[in-house]
Symmetry: C2
Subunit: 388 residues, 2 copies
């Protein structure tokens, strides 16, 4: 195991009916900016529950945060914060609303010339301050409710970039599994595969003798495989919704990734597919990961075999046969929840390859992945493998 | 899964050489009370590392915190805090030093007439304030480094009582697995079984459809079973020490116990064996747990079968045979690491039974356990089963 630091002070309030806790969790006398998306919270009753719990607080609303939240939209939120002397942000939504709100919280106190630097110059300039955030999660998927990560898209340049900071970790997150009951099928499916691949990014690398981390990762994967289809089959199955929701949170709250190598190439490549073609985040991951598993099988042999054996019970055959069977099982799982895994399924052809490669070249990124050896040539090859 | 709240803001710095981080972790200008035990930290080099990292800080030392820390001793620490205007406590030691320091931190700011109320009246009067604490862990076992729990013994009355509060959770804990290298065999063995039984208290109850929590618990158990003997066989095996240390922390940082029923009868009965006879905490647990598994097998049938199958691969035979085999495997594991499981092994006879039962009767406790049906008659029976 490698040395590590772990710090996660997010207070989780989990279970049905927990939204009422808001009245105690939000600091007394706070000027709240309530952030949300396209208004689904007004249809599923969450908005009403939130407003009832916030009775007596001063609340300014900022709606319209879109999927893959746009920098351009979020800067309007920053202006509202300043105009209304907001001192607490309450994000009610899925990963996009939460990520966008984290950006607003950091940008409102940013001392540089342009808050875009938070994303474009993240390696040089760290976020050192942010307004406090609380969240009510309405879509299990990204894990944003229990981490300091945020991904923001600049629409005018089709750039999708990430930052992370302890300072944007929510003070609290309310996770009521009943929000799952009204989710459309595609959002549940995207959430299942998003959480699944968050685990894979931290697990499917090379072994460093970290059995707790490995087993926790496998625990989350097995739970998603078992519970995900139950949620898809019956949206009112509370236990399945709860287990799916908790699995998605555990997939990216930092715990399974401590002291082990991490990959994240699937996300880096996937982000470009969203930036260029607007393909859902979860879908992009299901396109890219199988390609990486195929191309980087030598890099990942031991962990693919362990994953195949412990998660899919694949123990027969040569090493290559077991790897093939494990990739096959993974692809079948994605397809079984309704997520296609080839670029052609989304109407995207080979023209995407050079566009994505150019992006990495222009940013000066020569190689990615857990060993830093997944080159831009590899990226081209991975996308080629996943064309159709 | 049941509703739950989870909050654990302890910053973990894990790995070899991490003690140097102290200089950054302790607040600038702090007046530190450095608390430790019998002086083993002066032999294994930890004291020197700590003092080197604290160069420039004002440090008052308070040594001599004993195993099962005594209220009488700790109140001397409280007096030092007040005399020297201490504003930060740094505990360097195992669970006893950490627990004792938590008590000092709470007692120093206690507003009631007598700090003993923190323990004796915990159900009525909660700890609302405490001095900030940091820790350098020297013995993996209790999990105290990443929770708000503390157990204190009043020597004059032979009472061992617990309290817990968010306010005594350490601000940070440094976990350097190299501290394990110099531990005596019995302390490692006690640590392994202590962590193991912390898991069992949160796991071996009844199912509530919480697969993440179950699998995380089994992950910790399997890791202790695999890595514990490696540590006992070769104290300089860094990876084994690291995995043992992280397993012990994960066993009692709250995570595996969220949303599930918990038992803690083993601890409640075990504490009395320590209070009356000074038997090591870990040893008392290994005496009591098999008795509870035997007597309460009907209560725990499903989870004992699941534990037997997933942890010990016991799948053959009738339900009763599988339960017997699972209890047998558990006892063999305790004995294999060198911890005896019968009262006679510690020179204690049947006279203990009434003494322990009387304690529960006097406190007005009629029944304990995850179903609240483990009566004082059951306690007598459990101890009788474990006599020899």
């Amino acid at each position: 195991m490698r040395n590590f630091e772990f710090y996660n002070p997010v207070r989780i309030c989990f279970g049905k009916g927990e939204i009422v806790q808001l009245s105690k969790l939000v600091p007394k006398g706070a000027n709240i900016l309530l952030t949300y998306g396209g208004g689904s919270i007004k249809k599923n009753g969450v908005y009403d529950q939130v407003m009832a719990a916030l009775k007596g607080f001063k609340v300014i609303e900022f709606s319209g945060i879109e999927a893959n939240p746009h920098y351009e939209t979020l800067m309007k939120g920053v202006a509202l914060v300043k105009a209304h002397k907001i001192d607490f942000l309450l994000a009610v939504g899925g990963g996009s609303v939460l990520d966008g709100t984290k950006f607003i919280a950091a940008a409102a106190l940013w001392e540089g010339s342009d808050p875009w630097e938070i994303l474009s110059r993240r390696s040089e300039r760290h976020v050192e301050r942010a307004l406090p955030i609380g969240t009510v999660l309405t879509l299990p998927a990204t894990g944003s409710e229990m981490n300091g990560n945020s991904v923001v898209t600049r629409w005018e340049t089709h750039e999708k970039l990430a930052f992370d900071s302890e300072h944007v970790m929510p003070k609290f997150s309310i996770l009521d599994p009943e929000v799952v009951f009204s989710l459309p099928q595609i959002q549940v499916a995207n959430g299942i595969v998003d959480a699944f691949i968050h685990v894979m990014e931290q697990y499917l690398t090379f072994p460093v003798n970290a059995p707790i981390q490995d087993r926790f990762a496998e625990s989350v994967l097995k739970t998603l495989i078992e519970e995900g289809p139950k949620v898809l089959a019956d949206r009112t199955n509370y236990d399945a919704a709860a287990n799916f929701m908790w699995a998605a949170t555990m997939a990216l709250n930092g715990l399974i990734g401590v002291g082990v190598p991490q990959d994240w190439a699937t996300h880096m490549i996937g982000h470009e597919l969203t930036a260029f073609h607007g393909i859902d985040h979860g879908q992009t991951l299901c396109i890219v990961l199988p390609g990486i598993m195929k191309l980087k099988r030598e890099n990942k042999t031991e962990k693919i075999l362990q994953y195949g054996e412990r998660v899919w019970e694949i123990t027969e055959g040569t090493v290559d046969q077991r790897i093939d069977a494990t990739i096959q099982k993974t692809v079948e799982f994605f397809e079984s929840v309704g997520i296609k895994t080839k670029l052609a399924d989304y109407g995207v052809g080979s023209e995407i390859i050079n566009k994505v490669v150019d992006r990495f070249v222009k940013r000066g990124i020569k190689a990615i992945g857990e060993r830093g050896d997944l080159t831009t040539e590899n990226i081209a090859k991975i996308l080629e493998l996943q064309l159709k």
